[in-house]
């Protein structure tokens, strides 16, 4: 691997950067180094143009009229559904449900599947590295139904401790885990967990928010039952997320929201539901966002998900090595130390500068990193910290970005006279 700043052996990062208008605008008079893609990614011009083109040349409501534009809009939306299905290896595009975001997708699982399948004493297994979006909906259901929540703990090097997995699975009806931690980047062996779930007759849901944008994903190969992810973390717009689930599960589930578009028939006595996916898509969907997500899928596919993963593993190795070389024990990086076992998400501590202050100082250098608990308070408690600074990498980051971050930390040190 080249050690020259700014070079990647895998991706043409300069060309990719040129696709993202916002990355070419200075922040605090410095070139922007955007390192908060685990929160939301930036958007390439290809996605922005597609959405603008949709509004200028296609816009109409979907599945409503026989007229030209409505048909065109419906085709654009259903075309995007097929793209998303192919992208995640879904056997049938009707298994792809469009939601507002991954949070809504996870809430849909809890509210629809959970309410119709879980009763007092039933067990749902989560993990200690979950985002609040995969904890709170289950707490809500626990308060309503008296279900029991169990948590897979953390073992060596920030990876999940699966040594007592079989024990945790006793009486479980569902396991819902992230595929890659949003705080530490720890990759979770989803296949193994799904296997353990199925062995006791439980289903396996996966929060794939940090997986789908960064790692080639095939839901059929993983042999899972549900997957939730958001469009805005994968170069798509905000306001669009995806729930994927196996068709027979979706067909047996009651609807989530009621309204237009999700019905087969309505009378004064009741209603019958439309087939999946429409059963779960009440109201006018975010059509432009769906089409934009389709364009994001095209963009990532053209770069190649294998290449993206390779780039991020290389850049992660460079990140950890450079931080260590320059700052030694002054920097603590949480999570796996082996690049192959993690994504490019780095929660770190620097001397005793509070993460909030660190983020402020880095911003002055044009570097965007997030500070806080990253919606994972149970994990923060486990790590024994109130907050962390988090730098997360994506296709448009390169070694020169890492160098800028590593150098700017010295300024934080000076400012706090450490």
């Amino acid at each position: 691997m080249s050690t020259t700043s700014g070079e990647s052996t895998t991706l043409d990062v300069a060309a990719i950067k040129a696709d993202f208008p916002i990355l070419n605008k200075p922040i605090n008079d410095r070139p922007l180094v955007y390192m908060d893609s685990a929160s939301t990614s930036q958007k390439p011009v290809q996605v922005l143009d597609t959405m603008r083109d949709y509004y200028e040349n296609t816009n109409a409501n979907v599945h409503r009229g026989a007229y030209f534009l409505s048909d065109k809009a419906s085709r654009a939306m259903e075309g995007a559904r097929k793209k998303v299905a192919r992208f995640i290896g879904a056997p049938d595009s009707n298994e792809v449900i469009f939601t507002k975001n991954a949070t809504e997708a996870l809430n849909l699982i809890a509210a629809s599947w959970g309410r119709s399948n879980l009763n007092k004493g039933d067990v749902v297994v989560l993990s200690l590295i979950e985002h609040h979006a995969n904890i709170v909906p289950w707490h809500m259901l626990a308060a309503e139904r008296g279900i029991e929540l169990r948590f897979i703990g953390i073992g060596d090097d920030g990876l999940l401790d699966l040594s007592n997995l079989d024990e945790l699975m006793e009486g479980a009806k569902l396991v819902s885990v992230t595929a890659m931690g949003n705080v530490t980047g720890a990759i979770v062996p989803v296949e193994r967990i799904a296997k353990a779930a199925h062995a006791v007759g439980a289903l396996c849901a996966v929060d794939a928010c940090q997986l789908v944008p960064h790692v080639p994903t095939n839901v059929a190969d993983l042999d899972i039952d549900f997957a939730a992810f958001s469009g805005h973390k994968m170069c798509g717009p905000t306001g669009i997320g995806v729930l994927w689930a196996r068709k027979e599960i979706l067909e047996a589930m009651p609807p989530f929201l009621g309204g237009g578009g999700m019905i087969a028939n309505v009378t004064i006595d009741g209603f019958t539901t439309a087939d999946v996916p429409h059963k779960f898509e009440a109201g006018t969907p975010p059509i432009a966002e769906i089409v934009g997500l389709g364009a994001a899928v095209d963009y990532l596919t053209a770069i190649g998900m294998d290449n993206i993963r390779r780039h991020e593993v290389e850049l992660s190795a460079y990140f950890m090595r450079t931080m260590k070389e320059r700052h030694g024990d002054d920097v603590i990086i949480h999570g796996p130390s082996e690049p192959a076992q993690r994504g490019g998400v780095f929660s770190f501590a620097y001397k005793d500068v509070h993460p909030h202050d660190l983020s402020q100082v880095l911003d002055e250098h044009g570097i965007s990193v997030r500070a806080g608990h990253h919606c994972a308070k149970p994990l923060m408690k486990e790590l024994g910290v109130g907050a962390t600074a988090r730098a997360s990498l994506y296709i448009y980051n390169d070694e020169s970005d890492v160098d800028r971050l590593v150098e700017a930390l010295d300024n934080a040190s000076d400012l706090f006279s450490l």
Partner: protein, 153 residues
């Protein structure tokens, strides 16, 4: 880095590194409240002992960024030994310092602003720089909001 120097004034860093009145008081008799900044995890505990309308003792706990902890430390020094009426005035003065600048930031001079109370802010004056960083205002006001809660408990 002129902006950052406004934010991280020497006196602010001093209060952060050597916080005043750090600890706990026994409750009761002391009043207590706990404040959280749900977005970033800052945490402040405020204990106050009130005797005959005077804050005779105060203790601060918690953890968080330099601004939240320094502001709480400055607050503890500023209210100790003061009457409840004086504390109310001081609180109003600090809040107005924060909000006046918020108006200035938005270039909105149309609003009628309450006259800031004529109070000597002492060290607290150093927090003025925070208002140039709107996201950090909630860090600076966390201690004060927690104090208000403790007083009403």
């Amino acid at each position: 880095m002129s902006g950052l120097e406004d934010l991280y004034k020497e006196i602010v860093i001093d209060h952060y590194r050597s916080p005043r009145n750090r600890g706990e008081l026994e409750t009761p008799p002391a009043k207590h409240a706990e404040g959280f900044n749900p977005l970033c995890g800052d945490e402040v505990q405020v204990y106050i002992q009130i005797d005959d309308g005077v804050i005779t003792d105060v203790a601060i706990g918690g953890q968080g960024c330099s601004i939240s902890q320094a502001s709480a430390s400055m607050m503890s020094a500023g209210i100790k030994g003061k009457t409840l009426a004086q504390v109310e005035e001081l609180t109003a003065a600090v809040k107005s310092m924060m909000s006046i600048h918020e108006y200035e930031l938005e270039d909105d001079d149309s609003g009628v602003l309450p006259e800031p109370p004529d109070v000597d802010l002492g060290d607290l004056e150093a927090l003025k720089g925070v208002v140039k960083f709107p996201v950090r205002i909630k860090c600076a006001t966390l201690g004060w909001n927690t104090l208000a809660e403790a007083l009403s408990n």
